[in-house]
């Protein structure tokens, strides 16, 4: 089940703001340069605002059937099956594949990614990449030190051979 919570409304609101900014900024460009982005931006702004309104006020949402219409691909026969034949998607694995949303752990993983970006910015990649792998495996993945060390060292050698020796990458 997709989240129809406050987070959903916040995300849609941010999209509305994003499209509005692009439209306003685009108005400054010359006529030809703004033709497509401003036109698309206005349409996208109106569509996102309508979606936000439909989700925020269910009474209005129930009247806007087009906003709720599903895409052709998944509305076709055979799609989203649950238990019809050997290739059907089983309910359990479907439930398992549902997005987990923005939990505390999700934020922590994105912080790890931001940490990796900072490492790449300020530390030589032959040090930063194995270091990140080692730290993340130990702290986040709770792997054994030896396993983490061997994986980090192996990937370090791989990056060294491919990028430093073969491609002579020095960034």
């Amino acid at each position: 089940m997709l989240q129809t919570s406050k987070g959903n409304l916040v995300f849609q609101f941010l999209l509305v703001i994003f499209f509005a900014i692009l439209v306003v900024v685009g108005l400054d460009y010359n006529e030809r340069a703004r033709l497509i982005p401003v036109t698309v931006g206005i349409v996208a702004f109106l569509m996102t605002a309508t979606l936000l309104l439909a989700d925020a006020v269910p009474a209005i949402g129930s009247k806007l059937s087009l906003v709720r219409a599903s895409g052709i691909a998944l509305d076709s026969p055979g799609s989203k099956r649950t238990g019809e034949g050997p290739e059907a998607t089983d309910v359990k694995s479907q439930a398992r594949d549902e997005p987990r949303g923005f939990t505390l752990r999700t934020w922590r993983i994105f912080l790890w990614l931001a940490f990796l970006a900072l490492l790449l910015r300020y530390v030589e990649y032959l040090i930063s990449l194995p270091l990140f792998i080692f730290l993340m495996m130990v702290v986040e993945g709770r792997q054994r030190l030896v396993t983490s060390l061997l994986t980090a060292a192996g990937m370090g050698v791989f990056y060294f051979v491919l990028f430093r020796l073969m491609l002579r990458a020095t960034f």
Binding site: G71, T89, G141
Partner: protein, 501 residues
């Protein structure tokens, strides 16, 4: 015929096979790794070809070029991270097949459609060499615009979940495609004072952000291994994937033609070919479709197109000296280094070199397919590695892959920011496929739209026969799924009424 035999002799005589195998291995490796691809591997190998016989040189380089696409599909299928931007469409059904424990079947289908598509493209190249000029000249701005428009029409059918949200996602992709310097109008758009954005949003960091990062985060949250069910990649499974290609031979032919035609058009690129082919499959394959959930036809369509595209891309390179893709642009430089000037005279003066290209392309595609088929059993083991080990490695491949594209830190930031937004899109039910389609096709579409208006006026879109045909096909592609859906609903209605009654 004599030149063809001479080229074949060069390829099969030592050190031809060695160069072909080494090139193929390196091409596959560069294809597997995100951020690296055909241009990098050809640039890496070019200095080694200096002083070589041109026939051997092109064998080495095209051997590498031919295996990149299939290599890229391996990482797309197994870890949901497309090795190159042109493999993004493959992950839509390739990775769901892996999640269902059918990695072997997906790899088999990818290898078979890639090899057959590559050979198909090489044969088309061979056939088109005498008439290449006329074919290339048949495509001008309006035709390229119509091709891009045709690709955009796919958004209507491939939007997973809410169509409204899918269209918003498509608009988001189009807006992102507007970022940066516009070569037609000469304007700088949406850079917000950031120099990096002058080049616009690049495809590789964007695709990494849209697909690889959210899925890896999701897998890490889920824990365990990539596939929740035991992965089967025995030769029987791989064979099933191989057999899926002749079973869907008509789809394969159509998508190979799409790939070849898009390859012929200079500057359009393989990513466009795969999305157009994927969309075509979704729109036309109405028999029990499960696209987006692990439909094998969703692997066959983009893979046959992307491998056939290489043969097409060599047509303008050989006939005009105009590169059909980034890979062929680098290849052009390598050919010049060997004293071979591509262009109209190449076919007359170096016919054997052209034939060596055709043969190397076909053989390379077959070899990488065999490698994938026999290695699938071992490659699939990757999905048994615990996520807590795999995810940190994939994260470094993702962000460093984005960095390695051009050595710009901005690419890392773009991948990360888009990764975060794409995760939110996944959580809140916005399909990410329209974003990548619009991003890939948006800049081509905007550019050719203005070029057509400037050169031919609004009527330019409809007065050229090829352009008009493409326009009508696009209309049919949009209308058909809706017509088909309403017809199906009409058929279902009496049944529902009977049940209620």
């Amino acid at each position: 015929m004599q030149e063809l035999a001479s080229a074949a002799t060069f390829i099969v005589t030592w050190p031809g096979p060695l160069l072909l195998v080494v090139g193929m291995f390196l091409g596959a490796l560069f294809g597997i790794l995100p951020g690296l691809g055909g241009p990098q591997v050809i640039a890496l190998l070019t200095p080694l070809t200096y002083g070589m016989d041109p026939r051997l040189g092109v064998t080495f380089l095209i051997g590498a070029m031919g295996s990149v696409a299939t290599g890229g599909s391996i990482s797309a299928i197994l870890i949901n991270t497309p090795g190159t931007g042109q493999n993004a469409a493959t992950l839509l059904d390739g990775f769901p097949l892996t999640l269902k424990g059918k990695a072997g079947r997906a790899l088999g289908a990818s290898a078979m459609s890639g090899a057959s598509g590559g050979v198909f493209g090489a044969l088309i190249l061979l056939a088109l060499i005498p008439v290449g000029k006329q074919v290339v000249l048949a495509f001008s701005y309006p035709e390229i615009f119509m091709m891009a428009l045709m690709g955009m029409s796919i958004i209507v059918v491939v939007s997973q979940g809410s169509m409204w949200k899918g269209l918003i996602a498509g608009a988001l992709g189009l807006m992102l495609a507007s970022f940066g310097f516009d070569p037609v109008t000469g304007s700088i758009r949406y850079t917000f004072g950031v120099d990096y954005l002058w080049d616009g949003i690049k495809i590789v960091p964007a695709v990494i952000g849209l697909f690889a990062i959210p899925e890896s985060v999701e897998l890490l949250l889920k824990g365990g291994t990539v596939s929740s069910v035991p992965v089967t990649a025995s030769y029987k499974d791989v064979w099933q994937g191989i057999a899926d290609v002749p079973r869907n031979w008509w789809l394969f032919i159509r998508c190979s033609i799409i790939g070849t035609i898009i390859g012929i058009i200079p500057g359009v690129g393989g990513a466009v070919a795969t999305w157009v082919a994927y969309g075509h499959a979704v729109q036309t394959e109405r028999k029990n479709p499960r696209f987006g959930e692990g439909d094998i036809r969703g692997v066959i369509a983009p893979e046959s197109a992307v491998c056939a595209k290489d043969g097409g891309a060599l047509v303008p390179t050989v006939t005009f000296g105009i590169p059909g893709s980034v890979e062929t642009a680098v290849l052009l430089g390598a050919l010049m280094l060997q004293g071979v000037t591509p262009g109209p005279k190449l076919i007359v003066e170096h016919t054997d070199v052209v034939y060596a290209m055709v043969l190397a392309l076909a053989i390379s595609n077959i070899m990488i397919a065999l490698l994938t088929i026999f290695g699938a059993k071992y490659l699939a083991q990757l999905t048994r590695v615990p996520i807590s080990i795999l995810a940190p490695v994939v994260f470094t491949l993702c962000l460093f892959g984005a960095y390695a594209t051009d050595g710009e830190f901005g690419d890392v930031v773009v991948a990360l920011v888009i990764g975060f937004v794409a995760y939110a899109m996944k959580v809140y039910g916005f399909s990410r496929v329209p974003v990548v389609i619009a991003l890939v096709l948006g800049s081509v579409m905007q550019e050719t739209f203005h070029q057509t208006l400037q050169a031919m006026g609004p009527s330019g879109f409809f007065v050229r026969p090829m352009s008009l045909i493409l326009f009508l096909v696009t209309i049919a592609m949009i209308v058909y799924p809706f017509w088909s859906k309403s017809r199906r609903e009409r058929r279902m209605m009496p049944v529902a009424t009977d049940i209620e009654g």
